[in-house]
């Protein structure tokens, strides 16, 4: 088998595997569901995720150890990942092939020559790593913005899969929505379509992971090169060069993605994969100028404090950025979140959404809960997001820890925020209408929402008695809407203060249940009042965990009449609301 055939098989295999891992991200125990598949494997293989989190946290989290395998193989083989494993790379490879296949060899050679902007990806990498590496100046992990594995994971899971799945709902129980998905889609498609301009545009110019591999591949034991000095110099080896590394001349090893097309295209078998440097000469180091290096480093170091001038980690924190249960305190969270979207994909209720920039630039595509999207707020008996998180930005908590049971009883349940009733919008508070959907749906026992009963006299609700018969009170007023007060929520109060439930009414009479009659029958000429019985919701902030089921269910469907705000979340001591730090059980 030719080595390019082996490469193509590898690309198809890993791309298919990646797509499969996206499809099976639904919580469940069927063979095509989450339980059976290591859906984070590509993210774990990604050394940029590992190195980024090492720089910010000084630890290598659990299964990110997989990245060591990638690093070791790269140190031995070179940038094999780009042309053999990377699903984003394969997509670019294929699109570039489709878009340029009809061009002449000369055109292709021009298209695939080396260009100086290929150094930009190294500058991007240096910028991100600098931002991650200097904790004294508030480190942040932003590699996920352009790291191809989180990028393609996010694009597939949050955009392409829901689009493809929406008519059939096979990969999810119901319709999925992701706020701001258009931006993720726009970036994804731009990256893919740029292959029509220059093949592997993203890989050559932008990809910080490719840049990292370029650096790691400097000492690779084997590399592409010419095995003899004699050469017809036909340049055909550069016709299909994926990396733009110029194998015909002084090959740029850091750009070579090991596609092996040059070896395939060389009619004289001059190009081979060998341990000795190319006999036509090679450049192992990336073409990064000292000035570029210093500027990127300084830019990365200064960008973080610049972004944080908006004080989003201080008093101006974004209270609507409600993080999933188990999320670390914000500063630690930002050191780990790679914006891959796995928590959003896994969330069975679709409540976890990609954040926007309203919470600061660093909030972009990090997980925030939006209770107006999805099937049901954050479900009490679910900890899927923490299990899905590849970097433990959301810790893999247990149900016991989430609910504050057993050994976690002293710590109490994990609060992700607190519900606030908007008394200007709430039906029983503002409009004299019974409701309390929020209270009913509060999943806690005892509920964090409790009610107080009030009887309010309705508008134009003071009536004059004309005559009282057996069970009817006839009124002087003759314009009452029939059965308006027959819902079981309305009461009739007499001047002596007796209150009885109304069972029916006509335009000029009120009916009381015969087995519940007044002790002192209201006399003709006397006044009666029609009152509505209202149960008004209150929040017990010591109990509320901020799950948002109340907000999701609130029938005031625009700006909800009960809303979660992140105050009181257990993960940050400085956002607490209670006098006691932990909720009292």
């Amino acid at each position: 088998m030719k080595i390019v055939t082996a490469r193509r098989i590898s690309q198809v295999f890993f791309f298919a595997l990646f797509v499969w891992f996206c499809i099976v991200g639904t919580v469940g125990d069927k063979f095509w569901q989450l339980r059976h598949w290591p859906v984070n494997w590509f993210l774990q293989l990604d050394p940029l995720v590992a190195i980024g989190t090492i720089l910010t946290t000084h630890t290598l989290y659990a299964s990110l150890l997989w990245a060591l395998a990638t690093v070791i193989l790269t140190l031995i083989l070179g940038r094999f990942f780009c042309s053999w494993v990377c699903p984003f790379g394969s997509l670019h490879h294929f699109t570039g092939f489709l878009g340029n296949r009809k061009k002449s060899a000369a055109q292709k050679i021009r298209l695939n020559r080396y260009r100086w902007p290929q150094c930009i990806k190294y500058l991007i990498l240096i910028f991100f790593l600098a931002a991650a590496a200097f904790p004294s100046l508030a480190a942040t992990l932003q590699t996920g913005l352009l790291d191809p594995i989180p990028l393609v994971t996010r694009s597939f899971n949050l955009v392409l899969l829901p689009l493809a799945d929406s008519p059939v709902n096979l990969a999810s129980a119901g319709e999925r929505f992701y706020e701001g998905a258009w931006l993720i889609l726009a970036i994804f498609f731009t990256a893919v379509l740029l292959n029509l301009v220059i093949p592997r545009f993203y890989c050559r110019f932008i990809c910080p992971l490719g840049a990292l591999f370029g650096l790691l591949g400097r000492f690779a034991l084997w590399r592409i090169g010419k095995n003899q000095t004699e050469c017809s110099d036909c340049k055909l080896c550069e016709t299909h060069c994926e990396g733009g590394c110029e194998p015909a001349a002084n090959i740029k090893i850091s750009e070579c993605v090991l596609c092996f097309n040059c070896r395939e295209d060389c009619k004289d078998e001059i190009i081979s994969y060998q341990s000795r440097p190319s006999l036509a000469g090679e450049t192992a180091n990336p073409d990064v100028s000292r000035r570029g290096f210093v500027l990127s480093l300084a830019g990365g170091i200064l960008a973080v404090p610049a972004v944080r001038l908006s004080n989003k980690l201080g008093s101006n924190w974004h209270y609507r950025a409600i993080r999933p249960p188990g999320a670390l305190a914000e500063e630690e969270f930002l050191k780990r979140c790679i914006k891959c979207g796995q928590c959003m994909r896994t969330c069975p209720t679709n409540v976890i959404q990609p954040g926007g920039i309203e919470g600061g630039l660093e909030n972009l595509w990090t997980p925030v809960l939006n209770n107006r999207i999805g099937s049901s707020g954050c479900q009490l008996n679910c900890v899927a997001c923490g299990q899905a998180c590849p970097t433990s930005a959301i810790r893999p908590i247990t149900l016991s820890e989430k609910k504050g049971l057993g050994e976690f009883a002293d710590a109490g349940p994990i609060k992700i925020g607190t519900a606030f009733v908007d008394r200007n919008r709430c039906l029983p508070w503002a409009m004299d209408k019974p409701c309390i959907v929020c209270e009913e749906n509060c999943p806690l026992s005892p509920k964090a929402i409790y009610t107080q009963v009030v009887f309010n006299t309705v508008r134009d609700g003071v009536l004059t008695v004309k005559k009282t018969t057996d069970k009817l009170i006839e009124t002087v007023e003759e314009n009452i809407a029939p059965d308006k007060f027959a819902t079981g929520d309305y009461y009739c109060v007499t001047e002596t203060g007796e209150r009885r439930k109304i069972t029916a009414n006509t335009e000029n009479s009120i009916e009381i249940s015969p087995d519940n009659q007044f002790e002192k029958i209201p006399a003709a000429g006397g006044k009666i009042e029609i009152q509505v019985r209202l149960q008004r919701p209150f929040i017990d902030i010591e109990k509320c965990i901020g799950c948002g089921v109340c907000e999701h269910e609130c029938p005031v469907s625009g700006r909800k009449a009960i809303r979660i705000s992140a105050e009181g979340e257990t993960r940050s001591a400085n956002r607490r609301l209670l006098l006691t730090w932990r909720p009292v059980i």
């Binding site: 919580v27 099937s375 008996n381 679910c382 019974p434 026992s445």
Partner: protein
């Protein structure tokens, strides 16, 4: 399209071009004629196609309308209760398709009693197949995430193990309905498709405290047929429950008061919210079933205005004694 300027342009070419231009003009004109809408859209928008939930009830049989069985084991009590009404063969004939509508409202484990008991559901599924049913569906439109509800409540797995097919709510399964004589259910989406082609319908609900309406039992269970923004109906909870009792005409309802949720309903959340009442009711009259069932929560019929409203609407009787309930107890 680029025309080669070097080519000779003569009469033939001009006529060909004129022909294409004429065809294009004709196509544009025809399309405009066909799509022409002089009136514009109306305020009401496009009317929905309305459907009516079929009537699944069976003929009344005096003395076999409601059975009340005391006992701790739901498998035994449900078998006895159905047997006292004449056996499931009275309700499900060979070759028939049956839908079971349990209360699966919340993503909560079965031991907390916020949802119908999975063993009870599985037993009724088995009884249906034992009675010759061709196919049994188990379906609900829950409040919490549907898949999570069916999974965590144990109902999904239990039903499937007993051979039933679980149908989760999806947008295309909903159709609009208007209840004749109804005030609230008007042009409202209901979970219709699963019930469109079945022969018999069985409702299974636990007895639960419900803060707004007083109690959630077999009538309130039909809330799960409503789609859309059904929460707005909580403004008039008694009327909507009564209308649900008018809209749904089940073959049989089973009201499970083996363990009742006495406090913190309808979600519960703690074992301490449950109380053993060791009672299971089977009935073809759900108003009667609920009128008896409310007693398990120490409530009177007059505490639940929806019962009287449903009776007035002809959905059943609150005076369950008049139906001569068959009582039994299992030791």
């Amino acid at each position: 399209m680029t025309e080669k300027t070097t080519e000779k342009f003569g009469r033939r070419q001009f006529l060909a071009r004129a022909g294409k231009a004429t065809a294009s003009i004709a196509a544009a004109g025809t399309a405009s004629y066909l799509l022409y809408d002089p009136a514009g859209p109306t305020a009401a928008g496009k009317p929905e196609e309305l459907v009516t939930l079929p009537d699944f009830s069976i003929p009344h049989r005096p003395g076999q309308t409601i059975s009340i069985v005391k006992g701790t084991n739901r498998i035994e009590t449900v078998n006895k209760a159905i047997e006292l009404l004449g056996g499931l063969k009275r309700f499900v004939k060979p070759g028939e398709t049956v839908a079971i509508k349990p209360n699966v409202a919340f993503a909560s484990p079965p031991m907390l009693g916020a949802t119908a008991n999975p063993e009870l559901i599985a037993e009724v599924v088995r009884l249906c197949y034992g009675s010759g049913a061709k196919k049994v569906y188990v379906t609900d439109n829950p409040i919490n995430d549907p898949l999570s509800c069916f999974t965590l409540s144990g109902i999904g797995k239990a039903a499937e193990a007993a051979g039933a097919e679980v149908i989760l709510p999806k947008n295309h399964l909903f159709k609009h309905t208007t209840l004749e004589g109804g005030k609230l259910i008007r042009n409202w989406p209901i979970f219709f498709r699963p019930f469109e082609k079945i022969d018999k319908l069985i409702g299974i609900a636990p007895v639960k405290d419900h803060h707004r309406s007083g109690a959630s039992m077999s009538m309130k269970n039909w809330y799960g047929l409503l789609g859309g923004r059904r929460n707005i109906f909580h403004q008039d909870i008694n009327t909507i429950i009564a209308e649900l009792a008018m809209m749904a005409k089940p073959t049989l309802v089973i009201l499970d008061g083996t363990e009742v949720m006495a406090t913190n309903g309808p979600t519960g959340g703690s074992l301490s919210d449950l109380r053993r009442a060791n009672t299971l009711i089977a009935s073809t009259d759900m108003v009667a079933a609920d009128s008896y069932g409310c007693g398990l929560l120490d409530l009177k019929v007059s505490d639940l205005p929806y019962l009287t409203k449903a009776q007035q609407a002809g959905a059943g009787t609150t005076n369950y004694e008049s139906l001569k309930p068959v009582f039994a107890a299992i030791d």
